[in-house]
């Protein structure tokens, strides 16, 4: 097999030298990129046959370095887990970075380096890829198969090869993803019992926090920081603990310490946004301004920096600067409809703050016209808040309720709705309103489930159709409606179903099931009931890829019981 390698290096001669050295080791297929942007283009173009290994210079220009590129590629899943990554650097400070961050390359190499030094690292990266092949296969699926990956890790651990530690690490991460906190903690315990390891200490604390033992997590983190005082992930975890405990100011102080160790853009952003939440507007504007100035053309640029900075400037009374920041969004991001709605909502808030009330109300009305009720919760909540500031309270209230109902299954979003509402309405009243609405929703869904059990499928369809239209982002509601339609079709559809006229009831139900299956796949492609429902639909119509989601090894019976909301 011929391995594919990408060399990301702005100095052509160095890139060619590395290629020459690689040719001495093996028959590699080598591509070159001179910048981060070029490398991303190459990586995107190679999606069908991804690179096996990336050798990347640390200094890439354009305000980007190799560590940022690595984090971007891994966090955004632009490269599969199996792709190895080796950092090449002439900067003596890189080892300090590598010992502080959680996401490290497979290895790094200080320039000038020898042929042997490069060879040992390439061998290591290739060897890891081979040893953990089954693990990576499970993780590199469009929807990572965490359970299969756990099994593959166990097999690799039993083999006790050179990459046992990596297998343990991935196994614990998979358990965290699956919410198996106890299992994750147990894996981390094994590692820590053998020898102190920064990421395992932090992982264990994360598991303990999720198991509801914040005091134990805190104790472990403090002990870890004595050994690894520069390990910034430990500070992140400490900050998460402080935030869960409602201590925003302390979390900010902790993150400032982490920022002093690794002042990356990601960290500046995190700190700026937290300071904004804490009402520390000077700090928020200072850090977010840095990110906006430094990262406006960078890989990790985010609209959050611009909106956060504009919000801080508005609250500081620096209105002209806030308008300038919002206006500059168009220079850096494509003008999509959701972004336009967010921008208009933010502009309306600034206009309202500088007492241009008529203008503010007009802007918010225009934003309401282009709003779509399927837009992501954050966009809708920002618009709802702006509505309350600009004299459109009723519209704002409706949007808040809509978001809470549609994302009822996500407690984080429901809590956010209540928090944002509490800024513009009486907190208890707003919380009551949301709770009442959600209770009503659960009751309606439960009623439909009871009717289903009683075999009154027609009635269920009637009720669920209304709810499914009102809640286009609610996965369980969508699934329940699809299921009712499929049950009716199984009971009533004739064998020549597909030959019936389009306007016949069975064909209309089929069309509705298809539409809502597609909707469900958009809401959550990993929703467990999606695949069995798709198979049920395929049985009736022969259309196997109606929602283009991977079929899982589940039987239609597993989806047969209607789920009741909580």
């Amino acid at each position: 097999m011929r391995y594919k390698v990408l060399i990301v290096e702005d100095e052509e001669q160095v890139g060619l030298l590395v290629e020459h050295l690689l040719a001495e080791f093996d028959n590699f297929h080598v591509d070159h990129s001179a910048s981060a942007a070029q490398s991303i283009d190459r990586i995107n173009a190679a999606r069908q046959e991804p690179y096996d290994l990336i050798l990347c210079d640390y200094h890439l220009g354009e305000n980007t370095n190799g560590q940022q590129l690595l984090e971007f590629l891994r966090f955004e899943r632009r490269i599969p887990r199996r792709t190895g990554f080796i950092m090449l650097t002439g900067d003596a400070s890189y080892p300090a970075v590598a010992s502080a961050v959680e996401l490290v390359p497979d290895s790094y190499l200080l320039k000038p380096f020898t042929r042997d030094a490069l060879h040992s690292r390439v061998t290591l990266a290739v060897g890891k890829r081979q040893a953990l092949k089954s693990v990576y296969e499970a993780l590199d699926q469009p929807q990572p198969d965490w359970k299969t990956a756990v099994g593959a890790c166990t097999a690799a651990i039993v083999e006790a090869g050179r990459f046992t530690l990596e297998a343990l690490r991935i196994k614990a991460e998979c358990h965290l993803k699956l919410g198996n906190w106890g299992e994750a903690a147990s894996v981390y315990d094994k590692i820590v019992a053998w020898r102190p390891t920064a990421w395992a200490e932090v992982g264990r604390a994360r598991a303990l926090r999720n198991m509801g033992h914040p005091e134990l997590a805190l104790e472990k983190l403090k002990a870890a920081l004595e050994l690894f005082p520069q390990y910034v992930a430990a500070y992140d975890e400490l900050a998460a603990l402080a935030l869960e405990d409602g201590q925003g100011a302390m979390a900010q102080e902790i993150l400032e310490r982490a920022h002093a160790i690794v002042p990356s853009n990601r960290r500046s952003r995190q700190l700026g946004l937290l300071a904004l939440d804490n009402g520390d507007l000077e700090t928020a504007s200072r850090f977010l301004q840095v990110v906006v100035d430094r990262d406006r053309y960078g890989l990790m640029r985010s609209t959050e920096d611009f909106f956060g900075l504009a919000s801080a400037l508005r609250q500081l009374g620096r209105y002209d600067e806030a308008f300038t920041v919002l206006d500059s969004l168009k220079d850096h991001f494509p003008e999509t409809r959701p972004l336009t709605v967010r921008k208009m909502a933010a502009e309306a808030m600034v206009k309202s703050a500088c007492e241009r009330h008529g203008d503010a109300r007009q802007t918010v009305r225009e934003a309401l016209e282009i709003r779509d009720d399927r837009m992501e919760p954050r966009t809708q909540m920002e618009l709802a808040e702006a509505c309350h500031h600009c004299g459109e309270e009723e519209a704002g209230r409706r949007i808040f309720v809509h978001v809470a109902e549609n994302w009822q299954e996500d407690p984080g979003i429901v809590a956010q709705v209540k928090t944002v509402m509490a800024r513009v309405m009486e907190p208890e009243q707003s919380a009551r309103m949301i709770d009442y609405t959600l209770q009503e929703l659960v009751a309606a869904n439960n009623e439909a489930a009871a009717l289903m059990k009683a075999g009154k499928v027609d009635e269920v369809i009637g009720k669920m159709e209304v709810i499914a239209k009102r809640l286009p982002n609610h996965a369980t509601v969508q699934a329940n409606f699809i299921q009712a339609l499929l049950v009716w079709l199984e009971q009533h559809a004739p064998p020549n179903l597909m030959e019936l006229p389009y306007q016949s009831r069975p064909r209309l139900y089929l069309a509705a099931a298809r539409e809502h299956l597609r909707r469900l796949a958009v809401i959550n492609p990993a929703f467990p009931r999606l695949a069995p429902l798709q198979r049920g639909f395929a049985k009736l119509t022969g259309e196997v890829d109606v929602a283009a989601a991977a079929m899982r090894a589940q039987t239609p019976e597993e989806a047969a019981e209607m789920v009741v909301g909580e």
Binding site: A117, T164, L165, T197, L227
Partner: protein
Amino acid sequence: MSRERIALLLHNARNRLASLCPGATPAQAAEMLGIAGQLSSAMALLRLGGSEPGLRREEVELEVFFSDLMAEAARLSPAALVTEGEADFSGNPFGSWVFDSQLIRVVLMDGLMNAWRHARTKVRLEAGCQGGELRFVIRDDGPGFPPAWLATAGPGDAARPKARGTGLGLELARHIVGLHGTGPRAGRVELANETEHGGARLSIFLP
């Protein structure tokens, strides 16, 4: 950042100086290696003396670390000497170890340079894992450590003659290695002389 740059300059100066050794006379090579050892100490002191954390523990792939070390040793070893290396990490289930690779590398290179100054024909570097410890051993076939050093477990004031340098590198090595781990699980440096054929043996243990 400026501290890192100073460290890099010292590192380059040390290596450039040491790289002249293979072509130098034995007396010149010994002097050059002595100066190179002092530059190593300066690098380590620079790292340890600042406000930043003394150690940067990181996950170190042992085979890669050892192979880099041997490559550097091969490049810098005086022409008249043979430098051998042997590693057996089978006692370690994970393949990697947590330590400050930069500082430990400085300590080991300093140990090798010291061994090259005193060896007659051969220097040997061994590495392995045993009993929950990572161990590096540097042996040479020179005259061995002065007996007073062994008695005091290090270079005391009375025993700092020219026989084996100033001992500053050794004190620093003890300090750096000792920062790894705590109490009975602290890293340690041991000196011994080979009983059979003579020569010095410097052992470094990392928890």
